[in-house]
């Protein structure tokens, strides 16, 4: 709020009362510089709060000491951090550690390669087995298909023979009359009755 400085651009309020050696800065507030001053504030001179010189001197000394101590501590800590960082990168243990890490890395890589080799062998064996299985399956499937085809052909041959046999009973122009007479002489009845016990009755009344 109030800053104890002197300078251009800052409205300096001269203290007319004796003993005031402090320059204060005025804050604008709500009214601009062209607004009229309020009636109750006409001729008001703002004065800063009074300062006791002895108290000020004592305080100043104490504050100086305090700040010096805190600044020193702060710088000490910063330096410690920087030193730690420096030692981390280029200290005595850094080389040892980097060497050990390289060792570890090499060992792990070797282990990895061994594992890969082992896996590869296992995989090769497994793939071989699978291939053989697949081939066997294919062969079996082919045999199966052949059998099916043979069965199918046999079935069809059987059907053809059956049809040839049936063809002997077909109606032709010669036996047309004979067949008509036969049919008219023997009426067929497909009706029947069943009950819940399963007894079938084929004799029905033909109207």
């Amino acid at each position: 709020m109030f800053q104890v400085i002197g300078g251009r651009g800052v409205q300096v309020t001269r203290l007319l009362a004796p003993g005031r050696a402090v320059l204060v800065e005025a804050v604008r507030g709500r009214k601009s510089r062209t607004d009229t001053v309020a009636k109750s504030k006409q001729g008001r001179i703002k004065v800063p709060p009074p300062v006791d010189p002895t108290e000020m001197v004592v305080l100043k000394e104490r504050y100086a000491e305090y700040e010096m101590i805190t600044r020193a501590l702060r710088l000490e800590f910063k330096e410690e951090v920087l030193r730690k960082k420096y030692e981390e990168e280029t200290g005595s243990m850094a080389e040892e550690r980097s060497r050990q890490e390289a060792e570890e890395h090499r060992a792990l890589m070797v282990f990895n390669d061994q594992e890969n080799l082992r896996m590869l062998q296992q995989r090769v064996v497994r793939i071989q087995m699978e291939k053989e299985e697949a081939e066997n399956k294919q062969v079996e499937a082919a045999i199966e298909r052949e059998l099916q085809q043979q069965e199918f052909i046999k079935e069809k041959e059987r059907e053809i023979l059956k049809l040839q046999e049936d063809a002997k009973n077909f109606i032709t122009l010669e036996n047309l009359d004979q067949r008509i007479e036969e049919a008219l002489d023997s009426p067929k009845n497909y009706n029947f009755a069943v009950d819940k016990e399963g007894r079938v009755v084929k004799q029905t009344m033909l109207q």
């Binding site: 047309l176 067949r179 008219l184």
Partner: protein, 110 residues
């Protein structure tokens, strides 16, 4: 060739006329290139309801079953011809399914 069944209802006539009508029908079938397999007679029966055809009311009819093998394209022509025949009360052509296996169907075993 697919297998069809002609369920034929002829007018209730005397025997020679019935046989003449049947002969006519079968000959028309054969003329269209069908192979007639069998001819069955289901008897002369009371029709389930009175059918009026060719300006005549029928109450009795002679049922016949003709199964035959034929091409598919002749059926409409055949039905046309049969509808025009005066002695035919009702012709019906049905497709014949393959024979079902005669083993016992599902059901309570007795």
């Amino acid at each position: 060739m697919p297998r069809y069944e002609l369920a034929l209802i002829l007018k209730a006539m005397q025997r020679p006329e019935t046989s003449a009508a049947l002969r006519r029908t079968v000959e028309s079938l054969m003329q269209r290139g069908a192979v007639v397999r069998d001819l069955e007679n289901l008897g002369e029966r009371l029709l389930p309801y009175a059918i009026t055809k060719h300006n005549q009311k029928h109450s009795r009819g002679a049922y016949f079953l003709i199964d035959f093998y034929s091409a598919t394209n002749i059926l409409s022509g055949l039905l046309d011809h049969l509808h025009r025949d005066v002695d035919v009360v009702r012709p019906t052509v049905l497709k014949k399914d393959d024979q079902v296996s005669s083993s016992n169907c599902c059901g309570p075993q007795q």
